[in-house]
Symmetry: C2
Subunit: 487 residues, 2 copies
């Protein structure tokens, strides 16, 4: 039975017309009624351009009000939004545009020149649509939860990116799962600094229209702006990844966040424990979480009441979700499998990848983790990064986490290097601003914290770590630094 609900933005325009939906850095706001009117108008203009139900429409933009309006407008037409990472190269974008069969592309003004080089029939800057007439059509009034709303490509550290299909239902269930864990408070205002072209950012917009909640929209992450928004703009919740948390902790270390600030939702992979402890010491309510594009954002999240006792854990699966550790080893570590109605039904036109990802209805995440005695999840590492040395498993994230405790180390990445004796040995790449720091000191610190077999065999100081468009470290690029080393 397919479930049908009224269009969520219409609903909020009726239930909470004067509530602020979007607030920007310059103080300008859009209420839900205004957002609904602007999105409806924009939808009619998009219809004049030729966009219709089922059209695949690319969006190439950093966070801005126009992007939010465009996404809602597409929902009013029953069109599919293909959200593109603005950090990608032309070649990477063209792969996604072609793969997702995008026939229209909307861009922010700054990306318009780039669009000219892209393989897409129709493209316009958001603002160019204002000149279009409003086509007199019936807009979508009801959301069918089984209908496709968005396609977002996974960053693809191995092989070609895959287009993750999200139905309205996936987004809905994600928002509900989050609400049942974090609660719903009428005073909430959620800061969106994560890109909307990632599901982590997009999911904040969906929560906004499902809860009737204000979003504080930043064009991009900026520690000073986020700090100020928390301190002075009544922001109660923020989504961050590790590096952002790190920067926030370094910012005005003496400030205590207002009591109304109730959630720093931390995603994007395992976080170093010293960082989490530092946050705890400053009474910052960090909720670690685990999720991926396929799960429409967080699917496992620490709850408020467990945040202090379970530092380092990603928590428990959200109410509508299930979790299991597949084929655990002697240390109870195995691949994390998840299941739930927020999880994608598959990859766009990629049955092979879909079939490989799902086993008996469970999504095999490719991540390794274990459950403690109270069933709290600890994410250990990407299975693909696992280093096996002399029969012992070494998880790069563990070394990274420990060595981050050394205050001179700014960033670190660990990979496995082939070794004729041990099979593989770990090598650490370190970014530091301390010119006096040397390998001996690092090793001495490591020796005091890690079993001998886990110690990095080599320590290489680098200016910066290679990162992909999603700001994730591309470990495979580190292999070129190794002497006579191939992946």
């Amino acid at each position: 039975m397919e479930e049908i609900i009224p269009h969520w933005l219409n609903k909020q325009a009726s239930l909470a017309p004067s509530q602020v939906a979007i607030e920007e850095l310059d103080g300008s706001t859009l209420t839900f009624l205004q957002l609904q009117k602007e999105s409806s108008t924009y939808a009619r203009k998009l219809a004049s351009w030729g966009i219709t139900e089922g059209s695949h429409v690319g969006i190439l933009s950093t966070n801005c009000k126009e992007m939010v309006i465009a996404i809602h407008a597409l929902s009013y037409l029953g069109a599919v939004a293909v959200l593109l990472n603005t950090r990608l190269t032309i070649a990477e974008l063209n792969f996604q545009l072609t793969d997702a069969e995008v026939s229209f592309l909307l861009t922010e003004q700054d990306k318009f020149d780039q669009a000219k080089e892209l393989q897409v029939e129709n493209y316009k800057a958001f603002s160019a649509l204002t000149a279009f007439p409003e086509r007199n059509i019936e807009l979508v009034k009801e959301i069918k939860l089984n209908k496709v709303f968005t396609i977002i490509y996974t960053s693809g550290t191995t092989g070609h990116p895959k287009g993750v299909i999200h139905t309205y239902g996936n987004h809905w269930w994600s928002a509900i799962g989050s609400a049942l864990n974090l609660g719903i408070n009428p005073a909430d205002k959620w800061l969106a600094a994560l890109p909307i072209f990632h599901v982590s950012g997009l999911s904040i917009l969906i929560r906004s229209v499902v809860y009737g909640m204000s979003v504080f929209l930043l064009n991009k992450f900026d520690a000073a702006a986020v700090h100020d928004a928390i301190m002075n703009r009544n922001v109660t919740m923020v989504s961050v990844v590790t590096i952002m948390l790190q920067q926030l902790l370094n910012f005005h270390q003496d400030d205590t966040y207002p009591k109304s600030f109730r959630c720093m939702l931390l995603g994007g992979g395992p976080a170093p424990k010293p960082l989490l402890q530092q946050a705890r010491d400053r009474n910052i309510p960090v909720f670690q979480s685990f999720g991926m594009t396929e799960t429409a954002s967080q699917i496992v999240t620490l709850s408020a009441k467990d945040a202090l006792q379970k530092v380092g854990s990603a928590g428990k699966p959200l109410l509508p979700a299930q979790l299991k550790i597949n084929n655990p080893n002697e240390q109870s570590i195995g691949e994390i499998y998840v299941k739930g109605p927020m999880i994608t039904k598959g990859y766009y036109k990629n049955n092979y990848a879909t079939e490989n990802a799902f086993i008996d209805g469970w999504l095999a995440t490719g991540d390794l983790g274990y459950l403690d005695s109270e069933d709290f999840l600890y994410v250990v590492d990407r299975r693909t990064d696992l280093i096996i040395s002399g029969g012992e498993n070494i998880y790069p994230s563990e070394l990274e986490s420990v060595l981050t405790g050394m205050k001179q180390i700014k960033e670190i990445a660990v990979i496995g290097m082939k070794d004729s004796t041990w099979g593989e040995v770990p090598v650490a790449f370190i970014v530091t601003e301390d010119e006096l720091l040397n390998a001996e000191e690092v090793l001495a610190y490591a020796e005091s914290h890690l079993a001998k077999y886990k110690l990095p065999r080599e320590i290489i100081f680098v200016k910066e770590l290679p990162r992909n468009a999603s700001n994730k470290i591309v470990r495979k690029d580190l292999y070129s630094y190794l002497p006579g080393k191939e992946e």
Copy 2:
């Protein structure tokens, strides 16, 4: 696509094991972990008795812990709970037991003697099951939202009651719709004094396992106990019908409820405006609502921010729901139609009633109402002459149908008379040719066929009933017979 979620009670036992699920008047409590264990154990005992997936199991009980455990236990077996109104007569109960094809009946101790007279193959008191062994079976771990969970009878406008089928999804969506309106607060404790055999009481139990929220369970409504629970037991929300609100307002009029008390959810038909104003004057946060068994409890509810400005309105449809006024007259009044995933898919084995209730996917509620300029619903009246007495629905046609069985009665018409205590009470107008027939005889006959709350408060013998040109009874003309009574 059928959605699947983990069993909600298992989930809360994992997410919030030590959180109180059920608190009783005597102070005894069950945590979610305890409730899950007791319900699982009870399920295995029920399995020994012979209950299996798809069994229809009647429950005849007033509110108690054992009833809650039994309902959850049935969900662990995939059995269907048929919730029976304890106020019904043997004849009325037998109709429902037979109609719903009930093969097992569980009762509270006090109702066990009554059960002996009922047409059901197997019956036991809750406590009798403790002697049973635990059958070693696999309990339900996942809830399929399309699966049937409960059947609750509702009186029909024409004669026989109809069994409203609720899937797990209906209950789930009802709980979520409520949460999106009223918010979710970890400190919430919801008082259940409404009978669990009504969907208004049952829905509190469902919210409890969906939110991980404590329920303060009362055997029955008692103004002193409810008042005390609000004042001294940290109850934050209470569901009431009009008569209960009235009694609460009369109770310790000088007391101001604690600030943490945040919702008096008022259902069960239109409430008199003076009562609502009185509540407002005492700063009691009354949220009027509209709903029925078919909508799995409230489907239209006033929100906190509108409660003061819109006294007398039932509010707006909950987020997943839609509302329209069908065929409005010159005063904009028409029949209330509703739509949404919390609404029943139909009546048990009664396609005729189901087809009549639904028009193009909308449920025709039989209630009349209008929307103000801001789309707030005002319920005007029952199109169907429904009498609401102390929160219970009484259909004149049912009384007329039953009493016509008395051969001395030639014609009969029943209407509702306003009553300061009950809101309304039924009055019967009878035409007879038997000069010896008196009110006592009629009442005696009625008592043997009808639940007590349905009994006519007055019986008025008339020479003939007022009829229009089409020979239909003109009920409104009957009101002139009532003492000091206007329509």
